[in-house]
């Protein structure tokens, strides 16, 4: 007797009928659904760890907020009063969780410990697995932070953002672009493991610089003008500060155009860089271990 295998598993997709040829799009949707589902299930095993990582993720913004809160007192600093700071840093915690990319740590290990091998035998580029991981992770942590924020907003009006569908749609777009940008910086940085064993040290350096230039320690308006000018010509503000300010309603009009333009510019620049680094690196790669 045959085991009770569901019919859809026994039939390969091509055999579903002459009029339903598999399209490339459907193929990719199936692949992504599988990648995200498996990443979600892996994360499920580590849910306690993920909560702990989130606690670490919000610690620095909370400490920073506490200090700005005290410094602002009853007045304002650089146009920010207490409520503005609270809104800024709560938005920052959400945006940070939604755009966070751990990829450099994984890619570095894939390359150094030979875990890249099995990924190269699959019929798609390993970057898709990393994207799937990120989507699953962010669904989880983003939901958690959003819920906490809602709960806090019930009792603390300062952190409420205005309900405005148009603004939220803009903020959503900015967050997706920022997530793409942060993912690519992290992924490309990880690929440097093809050449060096200190790829993750560079990632820490990048994070250290981003504390200032991405608006993590202070809104960009509070940086010394020279530092803010340096930030303006690099990709850092588009990773965190810009989506945060879209969400809090700090930017509008020409600022929005400039911001989205910058995001698109740096995203395409990093995609180009990724292609270059990947094609050069993979030729250097000598499989290690098994």
């Amino acid at each position: 007797m045959l085991p009770a295998v569901p019919a859809r598993v026994r039939q390969p997709p091509q055999a579903r009928g002459p009029d339903r040829r598999p399209s490339a799009l459907r193929d990719w949707l199936t692949r992504y659904a599988a990648l995200i589902r498996s990443a979600w299930l892996v994360d499920l095993q580590y849910r306690a760890e993920i909560v702990i990582w989130m606690v670490l993720g919000v610690a620095q913004p909370l400490v920073t907020l506490a200090i700005w809160w005290v410094l602002a007192g009853s007045g304002e600093l650089g146009g920010y009063d207490r409520a503005d700071f609270a809104r800024y840093f709560f938005a920052l915690m959400l945006v940070d969780q939604l755009t966070l990319a751990w990829d450099v740590w994984y890619i570095d290990r894939w390359i150094r410990e030979g875990e890249m091998n099995v990924r190269l035998t699959r019929p798609f580029n390993p970057i898709h697995e990393a994207i799937g991981d990120n989507v699953a992770y962010k669904l989880r942590t983003g939901t958690a932070i959003a819920l906490v924020w809602l709960l806090v907003a019930l009792f603390w009006p300062a952190v409420r953002v205005p309900v405005d569908a148009g603004r939220w749609a803009l903020a959503g777009t900015a967050v997706v672009l920022a997530a793409g940008l942060r993912f690519l910086t992290s992924y490309v940085n990880g690929l440097l493991a093809f050449w060096t064993t200190r790829a993750t040290a560079l990632a820490e350096l990048h994070y250290g610089v981003s504390l200032f230039l991405a608006g993590r320690i202070a809104p960009l308006a509070l940086l010394p003008p020279a530092v803010a000018a340096v930030a303006g010509v690099l990709w850092f503000p588009y990773m965190v500060a810009f989506p945060v300010e879209v969400l809090t309603g700090e930017v509008s009009g020409a600022g929005l155009v400039r911001g989205f333009g910058g995001q698109l510019f740096w995203l395409s620049a990093w995609i180009t860089l990724y292609r270059l680094v990947w094609s050069r690196g993979i030729r250097r790669y000598c499989a290690v271990g098994g």
């Binding site: 606690v55 610690a59 400490v63 700005w68 320690i217």
Partner: protein, 282 residues
């Protein structure tokens, strides 16, 4: 007869007083010299670590400078006083990275893989063995550079601490290190209950973020938490304050008391956890 032989065999495991201390010091020397020989193979790490420490200290000082652009004082502390505190922050952080994380941070592995068996079978106090087996020597650069930063801040403050203040600083710094160790051991002891969680030490990193600034900067309820519940005030604020003369030297005795209490409580928790250990695998 067999019992007597066993007792003689176990004899050295339970000496009393001075002999016990002497024996543990000898063990420590053996542990660390073996470890140092291993570490010296990776001299490149020293350079990388030095650069890293300088970078992160610079980041911390610039962060403080950013706040001081907007206000002349932070919780009543001047810029250079906060920099002195950041030096202490770095020093204690260096001890964590050199000794605490490589040892206490490993409890999770020991418990999950059952390798704690190997430690329990040795004729040494298991807490001593698993707390001091390893040292990441090149991390001592953090300690030296941290103390250097504090000294530099003292020069900027044009302040020469008296002998009493220096003694108070030494005692509060030792207490700070003890308290940090106790917090780590407490956190990691929970592994005995939550075997599958493998990043408990990250909770320390999260709380330690708050130790970058004097506790007087935080709003009232938070300050209460940092002094009494999560005792991070004792880690950076108190040593820095005793060095720059912001507290009376008597505070050092209080700090030593807090450290002793933390150590005793943690050891009790550790033994309670150890009783739950049932080994694993083989």
């Amino acid at each position: 007869m067999r019992a007597a032989r066993a007792a003689r065999h176990l004899g050295p495991a339970a000496p009393r007083g001075a002999r016990r201390l002497e024996r543990h010091l000898a063990l420590l020397r053996a542990f660390w010299s073996a470890n140092l020989a291993e570490e010296l193979q990776y001299r490149g790490n020293l350079i990388a670590n030095l650069l890293g420490v300088v970078f992160w200290m610079g980041t911390a000082v610039l962060t403080a400078a950013l706040f001081f652009r907007q206000a002349p004082a932070l919780g009543g502390w001047s810029f250079w006083e906060v920099v002195a505190l950041l030096g202490v922050f770095n020093t204690v952080g260096g001890v964590v990275e050199a000794v605490v994380r490589p040892n206490v941070g490993r409890i999770e592995q020991y418990v999950r893989r059952g390798t704690l068996d190997l430690i329990l079978a040795k004729p040494v106090d298991p807490q001593f063995h698993m707390s001091f087996r390893r040292v990441e020597a090149w991390r001592s650069a953090d300690v030296l550079l941290g103390l250097g930063l504090t000294s530099f801040a003292l020069v900027q403050l044009e302040r020469a601490p008296s002998a009493l203040e220096l003694a108070a600083f030494a005692l509060t710094l030792a207490s700070a290190v003890t308290i940090v160790y106790a917090i780590w051991l407490t956190l990691l002891t929970f592994t005995f209950w939550w075997v599958s969680v493998d990043n408990l030490e990250v909770l320390f990193d999260a709380v330690y973020e708050a130790a970058r600034f004097p506790v007087s900067v935080y709003p009232g309820p938070l300050r209460f938490v940092f002094v009494y519940l999560l005792p991070i005030a004792w880690i950076t604020t108190v040593p820095a304050a005793s060095l720059i003369g912001r507290t009376s030297p008597a505070t050092a005795l209080l700090a030593a008391g807090v450290a002793t209490a933390a150590l005793v409580l943690t050891r009790r928790l550790w033994w309670a956890g150890l009783r739950r250990y049932t080994s694993a695998g083989g």
